[in-house]
Symmetry: C3
Subunit: 243 residues, 3 copies
Amino acid sequence: MMKGVILSLNPDVRIVDLCHEIRPQGIRQAAFLLTASRPYFPDGVIHTVVVDPGVGSARRALGVRSEGSYFVGPDNGVLSWIPAEGSDIVEIRREDLFRKPVSSTFHGRDVFAPVAAHLSLGHPFSELGPAVEGIVQLPPPRLDIDGNTVFGEVLHVDRFGNLVTSVPEAILRGVDSSRVRVDAGSLRLVGIETTYSDRDHGQFVVYVGSAGYLEIARVGGNAGEETGSPVGGTIEVHLPPSE
Amino acid sequence: MMKGVILSLNPDVRIVDLCHEIRPQGIRQAAFLLTASRPYFPDGVIHTVVVDPGVGSARRALGVRSEGSYFVGPDNGVLSWIPAEGSDIVEIRREDLFRKPVSSTFHGRDVFAPVAAHLSLGHPFSELGPAVEGIVQLPPPRLDIDGNTVFGEVLHVDRFGNLVTSVPEAILRGVDSSRVRVDAGSLRLVGIETTYSDRDHGQFVVYVGSAGYLEIARVGGNAGEETGSPVGGTIEVHLPPSE
Amino acid sequence: MMKGVILSLNPDVRIVDLCHEIRPQGIRQAAFLLTASRPYFPDGVIHTVVVDPGVGSARRALGVRSEGSYFVGPDNGVLSWIPAEGSDIVEIRREDLFRKPVSSTFHGRDVFAPVAAHLSLGHPFSELGPAVEGIVQLPPPRLDIDGNTVFGEVLHVDRFGNLVTSVPEAILRGVDSSRVRVDAGSLRLVGIETTYSDRDHGQFVVYVGSAGYLEIARVGGNAGEETGSPVGGTIEVHLPPSE
């Protein structure tokens, strides 16, 4: 329906589906995927985000401008990891751009989609509404360092069951990666591999994923299902002591 | 494959996927989604519908024209809720437009897709075939009123597990919605909320969904899985007595 | 992300998603779907294939040209059923076309997507890299004939649970199809039907599917789940003795 609304206003726009696999209420997961995907899209792209279409009217609608890209979505935290400030964060108040009547439960269709379509037609971002402060902020991805131990979290479980963590590749700099131990739930894994295929079938493997963060997978299996590690679960990375 | 066939005939057409989550044999569910989505698409759109690709040769292929939109699909009832009559319902007989050989089991690819592509290129609707009567009719969405009780059905369970019913918002007009009781399976729910977020985590909530019908959700949960309410299940709405 | 990379290079290209339901490690399943879908796409199409994005750096990247179409993907066997030889199979070595830095785990985004985009812009296929021999070959789809018994395999289980086998329609030529017996796991099915709808609800049915191969379905059910027949499982077709 959102695509119908967008194409009704701008038949020439290109639409790409980024992800339809965010778990319900997965606002952190959506925020992460948005952040991780941004660098791969062209300048001027307009990202339109909905999580939980059943939740509606009480929230503000936000427009965010960041590094040449635009974001339209709810003030529920999903846009809070996008670097932007000042006049680059606005509350969308232009009801004349909305689809009427505005449903109390599907702002994606009636607010975000038509506003994104108008932006794609050249409507000025600054005229969407006033700059706002105090938008809902998600706590940033966990990354706590205590001596040689790094604490992170599982930000995303992909469709293969691979656990994408908040621990960035940089933590491994200058470290003997074969001696790093990673704990997640009941797993105790030693050594960071270059790719998934560096371990045998059935084994768990830790590697630097395509987003630049540590990931945990099970070769030929589904690490998410088999460990029960949920999005939000804790991961500990134990670095070897310096010599 | 259908998209390949369409783009082979008309490389410039825009293709939007409406829904790939209809359950097998979910003809009523597909009919509902088609009806609910139509208003959001531009004039001239051509809706191409397949449910159950394994079912094939015995059915007629239909073209339907309604309020500036076109529909191409099987005569299995899925198009029977589209308002149309007379010369606006035709049996597609133009075998010269089909992809050959026509598979006995995938008319979507060999019949509906190429016919839709030809329509998008300007082929006249009226030349697809003769007007037909007596197409397969689905019973309309249930809406029976007995005194202060309204009987409806679950028409769709979305990917969040929300139950979309056949009871329209209009039934609440002039009623104290906080005193309405909704029964579905073993659920007894009192009060209609404005949005999903008006109840606490774990609670069931009834609200008017984006399609204009009552919906039942569980906050932070999956009402469909947790109640076992299937598509087609009965819902009762008990209105408070007039005063 | 792959679409973002492609559209960043060629904003005018048309992108179609062929399938996102290949099971993890389903290289044979992907090879089959690619082969079965090819005839329905227009000349000049560029197929970009990724299976198992976690597997990375050790594999070569291949370009294949076949009958007017192009294929870009990993040397893991997924392209080995595409008919091509000699200068039509190249190892992609043009690092200047890649997205930098090249992740060790997501060649789809950093290698295959940008190379496909450059091909769509007219970059010559022959300049992607040198012709190669000895690419990873999958064993061909099983088709063994022993007297009146034909042995095949389940190549694909679709989202309806229908089992798509490697036994082609041609095997039935001149045979009384009502006397053919098909064994799959614990199933013993007699007779090949024209369509899925030729059997009653709850019954299993064998028919020639849209790809031209025998398929096994359960009317109103899910044959894959109910028989536990996995991709790769054996199917036996017992032809009636000649008279």
